[in-house]
């Protein structure tokens, strides 16, 4: 039993170890994608969540399989945390038929119906109303599932944020709004784009709970999200949870990061969410250094294997251009 921190009851030691590996999987996946973009092996643009693994893994960890999520343009971590196969994700980024969207979507549009992932989204704020719609369905059909809605600090300034959260609040819908505040909406510092200290403070405007968590501490994320999920499942309505975090990489592949300092980046790197969980697991005697390194290597290998899978997968034939337009 873990002694030094409180955990949600469903989070076992084994689960915690799995989460440690999962966070490495997310990190290696995005670092590999970064490498491929730099080498010109895959094209277009991509948004990486390196440094933000704890909010994706921690929030999804407390969910039941039947629960749903909506994701964002920076969504690879959410997909993995909700159980997506990295093979099919990597294939999608390579534009191959074995990808989640058969190559039509690419980085920003991975959805996984089987795992309850309603999809990443190329439109900032686009997924927030969809999450509320999924929550409405849960309530109307009395299915008991909860919807986690991921969005960023930038999206919280879109009209869809206000419209959707207000609706969820008046109808007491089972939605937990998770704002991953990574401090910048592309080049816009959240300090200059939002006139309150915390985005979670806006919850007061909807009469719902708003909590700030350390987004780089998976334990903190799990505890607060779990409480909000329980509340939602019990018919008490939505909450906003703001996970303060930081994206280590630029906004997208073409970002010179003129808007922030290298010192600030260094400070946040020291709050590495994976390193913090590793230390906890070792201090608690759950993992040895060797075992921790072994899990890391296993995650790395899974990503390497996904690259092989993607490369071997066929490119879509031209005929598929006209498929999947209508029922």
């Amino acid at each position: 039993m873990i002694k030094t921190v409180k955990l949600p009851p469903q989070i076992t030691e084994e689960k915690l170890v799995n989460l440690f590996k999962e966070m490495w999987l997310i990190r290696f996946f995005d670092e590999k994608v970064d490498e491929f973009f730099a080498k010109g092996m895959i094209h277009g643009t991509t948004h990486l969540c390196v440094g933000q693994e704890a909010s994706a893994s921690g929030a999804c960890a407390v969910l039941e399989d039947r629960d749903k999520i909506t994701s964002t343009h920076r969504g690879h971590g959410h997909c993995i945390a909700k159980g997506a196969e990295v093979n099919r994700m990597m294939a999608e980024l390579f534009g191959r038929t074995t990808g989640y969207c058969k190559g039509k979507g690419g980085s920003m549009h991975i959805a996984d119906v089987d795992k309850g992932n309603l999809g990443a989204n190329g439109i900032v704020g686009g997924g927030i109303p969809l999450a509320v719609g999924a929550g409405l369905t849960s309530k109307m059909k009395e299915e008991g599932y909860v919807v986690l809605c991921f969005f960023g600090d930038g999206a919280s300034n879109e009209g869809s944020f206000h419209e959707a959260i207000n609706l969820a609040s008046i109808w007491d819908l089972p939605v937990v709004f998770i704002c991953e505040n990574n401090q910048y909406g592309m080049s816009g510092p959240v300090k200059e784009m939002v006139n309150v200290e915390n985005i979670a403070d806006r919850a007061a405007a909807y009469g719902i709970p708003g909590k700030v968590v350390d987004g780089n501490d998976i334990i903190d994320v799990m505890n607060e999200v779990n409480e909000a999920v329980e509340r939602a499942r019990n018919g008490k309505g939505p909450s906003i949870i703001e996970a303060k975090t930081y994206r280590w990489k630029g906004h997208s592949k073409s970002d010179a990061k003129k808007y922030r300092t290298r010192e600030e980046e260094k400070e946040w790197r020291e709050k590495d969410p994976i390193g913090r969980l590793r230390k906890l697991l070792i201090d608690e005697g759950i993992l040895t250094e060797e075992k921790a390194d072994q899990l890391k290597q296993e995650a790395k290998k899974e990503v390497e294997d996904s690259v092989e899978f993607a490369k071997k997968s066929p490119e879509p034939s031209i005929d598929t251009l006209m498929e999947d337009i209508y029922a």
Binding site: G44, T45, S107, G188, M322
Partner: protein, 327 residues
């Protein structure tokens, strides 16, 4: 005369207009410190300061609406939508407010706003970074829509748009930004909005198009000349309202007309061009009007094979011209 690329002509026009008229200001996402995602506003923040180069939150409806309000009170805002795909939350402000304010106010109010946005595919942007959305706005009297093809036209038309007393949507093909180069005078000049431009004189086939497709037509025309097919190329430049006179003249000149758009065919700009020709040129036509357009799919897919199939290119244009010539 200096040679510059398409996007440099955008920047040049903005700089000159901001220097000429202190009422001109720029607002949009990441247009300031970062200088825009594509660098269209590069250097403006340094030259004109944060009071005239406004980094906004991610809130397209407000970017358009605030710009419209400022324009009504005498400013000359140039609002940037980061991608035309992101303009959709702002459609209500543009169509309900900007397009109608003069008409509904007994001509008391003007709305001299320019809204710039990059459109079009060919850069692996996938579903939400590749669309052509001009036809959404192209049945809204009160709006003007300019879609230039060359750096020379960009500078002259953007300056004209900023000085225009009515709202102008100014759509720039993002693939053209660094691909298309041309001579641009250093001195001040404007070009008339609402006037098409003959980009090549010819006598056998008339091609009518706009934006990047103008260059595909010119390349095809060059190649076909060697085979004795003479192609006339009319660049619409303003796609709403259309230059009917120039369309009728160009169609009547050769009697064989090819209309091209990167947008999908149904409901597109070239449908209206076709109707104008059908109404006015019946006895001058020697072949049915031919249309070459993007496929009827919801958006441009990500996989390189499918994107290539979706996009037009000089070869596709050449084939279509040849078919018309052989009719």
């Amino acid at each position: 005369m200096p040679v510059m690329n398409y996007i440099q002509a955008v920047t040049q026009a903005l700089k000159e207009e901001m220097t000429r008229d202190e009422k001109v200001f720029v607002l949009g996402e990441d247009v300031g410190v970062r200088g825009g995602v594509f660098r269209a506003t590069d250097g403006l923040y340094e030259q004109f300061g944060e009071a005239r180069v406004l980094d906004t939150p991610l809130a397209e409806s407000a970017i358009a609406g605030v710009g419209i309000g400022a324009a009504m009170y005498g400013m000359r805002p140039v609002a940037e939508m980061q991608f035309v795909d992101f303009i959709l939350p702002a459609v209500n402000q543009i169509i309900s407010e900007a397009a109608k304010i003069r008409y509904r106010s007994n001509n008391d109010w003007s709305c001299p706003i320019t809204i710039r946005a990059p459109y079009g595919g060919g850069v692996h942007g996938a579903l939400y970074h590749s669309q052509s959305l001009e036809s959404i706005f192209a049945n809204q009297p009160g709006l003007k829509i300019v879609m230039p093809s060359t750096p020379y036209d960009v500078k002259g038309l953007l300056k004209a748009a900023i000085r225009d007393d009515d709202p102008v949507l100014f759509f720039e093909h993002k693939r053209a930004y660094r691909l298309i180069k041309g001579e641009v005078p250093t001195e001040d000049y404007t070009l008339p909005i609402g006037k098409a431009d003959i980009k090549r004189e010819g006598s056998d086939i008339t091609v009518i198009t706009y934006g990047l497709c103008v260059h595909f037509a010119l390349q095809a025309a060059e190649k076909l000349e060697a085979e004795g097919i003479s192609t006339h190329v009319l660049d619409l430049r303003t796609v709403y309202p259309l230059d009917e006179e120039a369309i009728i003249e160009a169609a009547s000149k050769t009697g064989k007309v090819l209309l091209i758009t990167e947008d999908n065919k149904e409901g597109s700009i070239i449908g209206q061009v076709s109707a104008i020709i059908a109404e006015n040129c019946l006895f001058d036509l020697d072949a049915p009007i031919k249309r070459l357009a993007g496929p009827e799919v919801p958006s441009m897919p990500y996989a390189p094979t499918l994107e290539k199939e979706f996009m037009l290119n000089p070869d596709k244009v050449e084939r279509a011209i040849r078919e018309l010539a052989e009719f």
